[in-house]
């Protein structure tokens, strides 16, 4: 029994209305609406603008990593070290702060450390041709390990006043800097993936790396770039998170890699590469945010939420596979009758 995972062609040109309605993104929107409605029923304060603004904080940083991670997974790779990269970048910022760096310098350092960490991942993976999952499991220990070496069970605190803006500042009324940054990045990544040659190449690499190579795409360089990009935005997330909570411990952002990957997969990105869209990831991010916020309103402890996240991940990937199998079985049966 062979189990070739049948891969749909990305971005089919013209579908009828029914297939458009059956699209993953539409389904996600329905779930978002349900989650939103449930939250309004759970708490009368939910619709308050400040409350809505607070709700965005607990997913924006993860969402910012989810965008480049979507590109990486579409290109058939994965990065499990993002949460550890955050820890490494945050610890470096804390160290730089103790040496007297200013807010802008701190942000630059955080992003640079992230980009370097991502580049190292990509370099090892492409240079020695090793599966991304093993290398990033290794660097996941390594990066967080370095954070532990530097900090032990200490804490970095007392960041400069100006630094607080990144994670706590508001751009306009109740709209936070973090959230605006995420919206802008979502547009940038949407254009990058769906409207540029680079984006088409990402799909090509994910669908068939060998064919992509033979059609003249420098696959290694693209993969290296994508890993660096994911690292860079893990650095951005580190800046936002460190600024928001105002302190650094080596255990910062523990377990985030799972949540980021769940967001991406929930957004309809095929874990085996080759298909997915930024719109899907964008909606999935809100769905995850609303659901966790709703559970927070019901005082569900974080560890129970993780049961939900885990089940969601399995269901989201399992359901379409079962669905497709039922459809093809039915088609086979009707062919036999006809």
């Amino acid at each position: 029994m062979t189990k070739e995972i049948s891969r749909e062609l990305p971005d089919s040109l013209n579908g009828d209305l029914r297939s458009k309605l059956m699209r993953w993104e539409t389904l996600l929107m329905v779930f978002v609406a349900i989650a939103f409605f449930t939250n309004t029923q759970l708490s009368p304060y939910f619709l308050d603008p400040w409350s809505l603004s607070d709700a965005t904080f607990n997913f924006t940083e993860k969402a910012i990593i989810a965008l480049p991670m979507a590109l990486l997974i579409i290109a058939r790779d994965i990065d499990l070290s993002v949460a550890s990269t955050i820890a490494l970048a945050s610890v470096t910022m804390g160290f730089a702060n103790s040496m007297g760096a200013g807010p802008i310098e701190l942000a630059m350092i955080g992003m640079a450390v992230g980009a370097v960490a991502g580049f190292v991942n990509g370099w090892i993976i492409t240079k020695f041709d090793i599966p991304a999952i093993v290398v990033t499991i290794g660097t996941m220990s390594l990066y967080r390990g370095i954070a532990y070496i530097v900090l032990g069970d200490d804490v970095y605190r007392s960041y400069p006043d100006g630094f607080a803006f990144f994670g706590q500042g508001y751009v306009w009324g109740v709209v936070s800097f973090e959230f605006v940054l995420f919206l802008c990045l979502a547009v940038v990544f949407g254009v990058l993936l769906h409207k540029t040659t680079f984006g088409r190449r990402v799909y090509a690499i994910g669908n068939n790396p060998t064919a992509a190579l033979f059609s003249g795409i420098n696959v290694k360089r693209h993969r290296l770039f994508l890993f660096t990009l994911v690292g860079l935005f893990a650095g951005v997330a580190a800046v936002l998170l460190t600024s928001r909570i105002g302190s650094t411990r080596p255990s910062i952002a523990m377990g985030w890699e799972l949540e980021v990957i769940t967001m991406v997969v929930l957004g309809g990105v095929n874990i085996m590469g080759g298909s997915g869209s930024i719109v899907g990831v964008f909606i999935a991010v809100f769905l995850m945010g609303l659901v966790t916020f709703g559970m927070g309103l019901m005082n569900v402890p974080g560890i129970v939420m993780s049961i939900f996240t885990g089940l969601l991940l399995i269901l989201v990937i399992g359901t379409p596979i079962i669905w497709r199998r039922i459809l093809s079985a039915r088609k086979l049966r009707s062919q036999k009758q006809g």
Binding site: P131, G138, L313
Partner: protein, 330 residues
């Protein structure tokens, strides 16, 4: 293709290289702190590493079939909590029954992973990443976040892994026995050999009449059963059960396999590799405090070792390892 040079032979026999490294480490640490290489201390180190060894052996089978089981540590924590609570509720139960029960619970959790991989066809990394947090969450639901402490457990519950026989603990003997069983299973049984074939070249395996998914399912069952058994052993050895038992331990298990030369691409590896990889990590963990390095270094060192090990393996893999069904050269 055979490499004729001496060094080539040494590297392709990764287990020898790893064994030599381990002996070098023992000599190095022993010259700094002679008590470390004393028989009593080595037995203690082995006892401390026994659980990692067993989990690495089971994980090896999963990795051989091109899968990965990231849920072992959560499975261990859940099963450990189950048997601890069972022991509190029914103190008369004998340790042997508890052991069998833990294997059963672990087997069910492993079979659930396996079924999702086999029948639904979800990639194993997704399944086990999901069940990793699901099973961990179940520990919380089961215990309500409470701890089960040593004084609540019965003496016979606690005694089993600690009892000594010929200067080694029962826990160590269980690890040795399991290693031998696994060795015989992978070398001399039809199913064991099929596992290599299925991972080495799934397409060829199908054409030679092997069900790839079914063999993946079998390895997940074994991995789950071993994780469950380790759950009981862990909880009774450390005499405490709580939600965060063995948190992130799955990474060490995968690391032990990778260091032991088990190819993540499937089909290549041996039990001795997994065992030596686990012993290597166990030695690092136990030797660091002895030579005066802060335990905070442990995580980074094991990370570095994993990265170096995969780089070295990627080179030697190209020379080919033990393969049942070879892929055609294009």
């Amino acid at each position: 293709m055979k490499s004729t040079s001496m060094i080539g032979k040494l590297i392709s026999h990764r287990e020898w290289l790893l064994g030599a490294l381990i002996i070098m480490m023992l000599v190095g640490v022993g010259s700094a702190a002679p008590f470390f290489v004393g028989a009593a201390n080595l037995a203690e180190v082995f006892d401390d590493t026994a659980i990692l060894i067993m989990l690495a052996c089971a994980q090896m089978l999963v990795i051989l079939t091109r899968c990965i089981d990231l849920s072992v540590a959560s499975n261990l924590a859940f099963t450990g909590m189950c048997v601890a609570l069972f022991n509190v509720a029914f103190p008369e139960t004998s340790a042997f029954v508890t052991l069998v029960m833990s294997i059963g619970i672990g087997l069910i959790l492993g079979a659930f992973n396996g079924l999702l991989v086999w029948l639904v066809g979800i990639p194993s990394i997704v399944v086990t990443l999901g069940t990793m947090s699901v099973y961990r969450g179940f520990v919380f639901l089961l215990s309500d976040g409470e701890w089960v402490n040593a004084h609540e457990m019965t003496p016979q519950f606690l005694a089993l892994p600690r009892a000594t026989f010929l200067d080694l603990t029962v826990l160590s003997w269980i690890a040795i026995a399991l290693t031998l069983v696994m060795f015989i299973f992978t070398r001399f049984t039809k199913t064991g050999l099929s596992i290599f074939a299925v991972g080495g070249n799934p397409k060829a395996a199908v054409y030679s009449g092997l069900d790839v998914g079914k063999h993946q399912f079998i390895t997940f069952c074994i991995s789950g059963a071993v994780a469950g058994m380790c759950g009981y052993l862990w909880v009774s050895r450390y005499a405490v059960a709580y939600v965060e038992v063995a948190l992130a331990f799955e990474l060490q298990v995968v690391a032990a396999c990778v260091i032991g030369g088990i190819s993540i691409a499937g089909g290549i590896g041996s039990i001795w590799g997994a065992v030596l990889g686990a012993i290597f990590l166990g030695l690092i963990k136990n030797a660091l405090p002895v030579i005066g390095i802060s335990p905070f270094w442990q995580l980074a060192i094991s990370g570095l070792v994993i990265v170096l090990a995969v780089i070295i393996n990627s080179r030697s893999e190209k020379r080919g390892g033990r393969r049942i069904l070879r892929e055609a050269h294009q």
